[in-house]
Symmetry: C2
Subunit: 422 residues, 2 copies
């Protein structure tokens, strides 16, 4: 009890330091922030050896504790990966300053002039898993938008994260910027995460990144406002009039190009009038790309190699070359299935019928709704944001791919000359 309380207090002290630092960081000019990020990029490159060595400790611990090769690979930093990290930081430096934009302007009848301007949140918190690149990513995005940042990364990457944070803080110090603007609470373990989730008043917004379970925990336990960056049980509907070529190309691209990401399709719903025409060739194209189809009875009658879909499949984000496929009666039936199982990330319809495309666009309640395009386009980079903070599946504040502007809040400025309210 005493230990926990002491630990929590100390994590809180770090967050208080982040909040204090946020005051000066929030007032930095566009050029100062960009130069600070470029200095961080240079420092990361200069300290590659130290970073890779700290990472080696994590990898050794990971091997001992039996991490899979896949997870070890996500954890690994080498010279090329550190260089890529530095390059990503320079890209963020090149983005336009999201702070100080005038979003609304009006003169009140009394003559008071009113402006709504974008301002930094203050302190951005993030709880995330395995990959140490997220440490640099989130810190760079937070600083570029004038925020201080409190990081809680995965235990597996603790030494790497500590080294990365030290390098970044050093680069800030060298430029006369308060290094307390970057904090980690990794060393407090679970208590660090708990302190972060209870830091209402010190931390302004919390962005969890990682598994559905991690996000669910943060969403339900945090009293700090959360931006949910969610899992994607993503659907594609093949309408009666879907052109075969589009159906084939889009479904294969959406599943097989990169199966482990949230914008990959998980379930294909085929309208029954198009089942015989579309399912055999689309399935053949999928299987050529290495995809295993989990089909309902009608699908399996057309695709003998398909494995039987179980109820659980419809709610599953496979993150692999597995795809659920179901035949539905009509568009209403497809919409009903999506309402039931979608995580409100991205859905697409393939159709030659504009009216039905527009109905789908209007009625599906997801962050991104598409007609005749691959769900893989749901991405900050593809949308032209230059960087991506995450993909929000909630409706408050930000929805869909989030760029730098989504890391800002607003403030109303009123300039008067003695006006009082009548």
């Amino acid at each position: 009890m005493t230990t926990t309380a002491t630990t929590a207090t100390t994590a809180r002290e770090r967050m208080q330091r982040a909040k204090d630092a946020s005051r000066t960081v929030g007032l930095l000019s566009d050029a100062d922030k960009a130069e600070a990020l470029r200095a961080i990029a240079t420092a990361l490159e200069a300290e590659t050896a130290a970073i890779v060595s700290a990472n080696a400790d994590d990898l050794a611990r990971g091997r001992e504790s039996g991490l899979s090769e896949g997870l070890l690979d996500r954890l690994r930093l080498d010279g090329a990966r550190v260089a890529a990290l530095a390059s990503a930081v320079r890209d963020v430096a090149d983005l336009p300053d999201p702070v100080g934009r005038v979003l609304d302007e009006r003169i009140l009848p009394t003559g008071v002039s009113l402006q709504k301007v974008s301002v930094p949140f203050g302190v951005v918190g993030s709880i995330y898993e395995a990959r140490p690149n997220v440490t640099v990513d989130i810190a760079a995005l937070a600083l570029r938008s004038g925020n201080a940042v409190v990081l809680r990364g995965g235990t597996a990457a603790q030494s790497s994260n500590a080294a990365l944070v030290e390098v970044m803080r050093g680069a800030l110090s060298a430029r006369g910027i308060d290094p307390e603007a970057i904090q980690t609470v990794d060393d407090f373990g679970r208590d660090g995460a708990n302190a972060l989730m209870q830091a209402r008043g010190l931390v302004d917004v919390l962005v969890p990144r990682g598994s559905a379970q991690l996000i669910e925990t943060v969403v339900t336990q945090s009293s700090v406002p959360v931006i949910e960056t969610g899992a994607g049980v993503v659907h594609i509907v093949l309408d009666t009039t879907a052109p075969l070529e589009w159906a084939e190309q889009i479904v294969v691209n959406a599943k097989a190009q990169r199966p482990s990401v949230c914008n990959a399709v998980e379930t294909v719903l085929v309208l029954k009038d198009a089942a015989e025409r579309l399912i055999p060739p689309v399935s053949a194209a999928l299987e050529s790309a290495g995809v295993t189809i989990h089909g309902d009875e009608t699908v399996r009658a057309l695709v003998p190699t398909a494995v039987p879909a179980v109820d659980e499949d419809w709610a599953t984000e496979h993150m692999s070359l597995d795809l659920s496929m179901r035949v539905v009666d009509d568009l209403d039936d497809a919409l009903e299935h999506i309402r039931r199982y979608s995580t409100h990330h991205t859905e697409s319809i393939i159709t030659a019928d504009d009216a039905r495309a527009e109905r789908f666009l209007a009625e599906v309640d997801s962050a991104v709704v598409m007609a005749n395009a691959s769900t893989r386009f749901t991405d900050g980079g593809e949308f032209g944001f230059g960087a991506e903070v995450g993909i929000s599946t909630q409706k408050l504040h930000a929805r869909g791919p989030m760029g730098l502007p989504e890391l800002t809040s607003t403030k109303w400025l009123a300039r008067g000359s003695g006006q009082i309210r009548a």
Copy 2:
């Protein structure tokens, strides 16, 4: 235990009905929504007798349970107040539709056309206290923005709220709109509030309205995203160069025009170099308006009638003709006091020095920051929004006075012709 579970299930069923209804309500045209509100206004007028009679039950219960005259007055509905309610609903009907605005538009390099459009949240929940007019207010604002609504009003107003909800639902039915779009969970008591706070997935956003304690409870206990409409410990700083006339008029207006509202000033900070010049006349003007000054030692040396300020005063939203007054060394000291005690609602500086005004505007971290204007201007009506959902003191999604657009989310629509990601 069994009772609670059953009750919660039933409250959940009502919320599920609201969610189902939100699908059709979200697709209503601008004209349909406006006409529905006008029908509600007409129905409220037509049913005045039934509403006033239900309200009489609440008033009788309130008297029995010893409610103060002030609270009884807030609870009371008579013909004039019902007419005012109906008129407010017509005003909301006249506002522009916040749904369907195109907020961003871009063509991706592959030719996919992308639009970010405003969409209803879906289901808006509200937990609030005493005044039955909030029932109609929130329902009208939610419907105008295409949302269904789940209401949990104060127990003291339960009969009035039930009557108002019945009239509104009847008016929707008569126009062929799903009446399930308006739900109340008042009759479940505390369980209704709990069910609403746990309704993540059914309710998209929760707006608490009422005491600081109510809001704190909702913010810390809700897993549904909350928009915090906060209490106001509002500050005015009298700078060294503050013109006496502005100081007098603004401080008196900000405190005495309507002391019980959140944008009324609670604390005046006077820079020490201006103390002798400003405090005696400003205090005299305040006292003429009936204000009791709670002063620190320096203030009391200048204003013998002031009562001694205690530490608690600086953190208190008086909601009355009481005002805390303190002398500070300089602007830094004033900013430090504000950082410590402000609820981040509204602060204003009175100064003749533009550079210092701009510093105050930049550095104070509140929803509305003013120079040389009364804090009473922080109001949706004054800002020209036509209606006010509340005044947000959080930084996520909305900050400051919220109008209809703040009751919408966004959705990205992508229209392609077979594009896949390279």
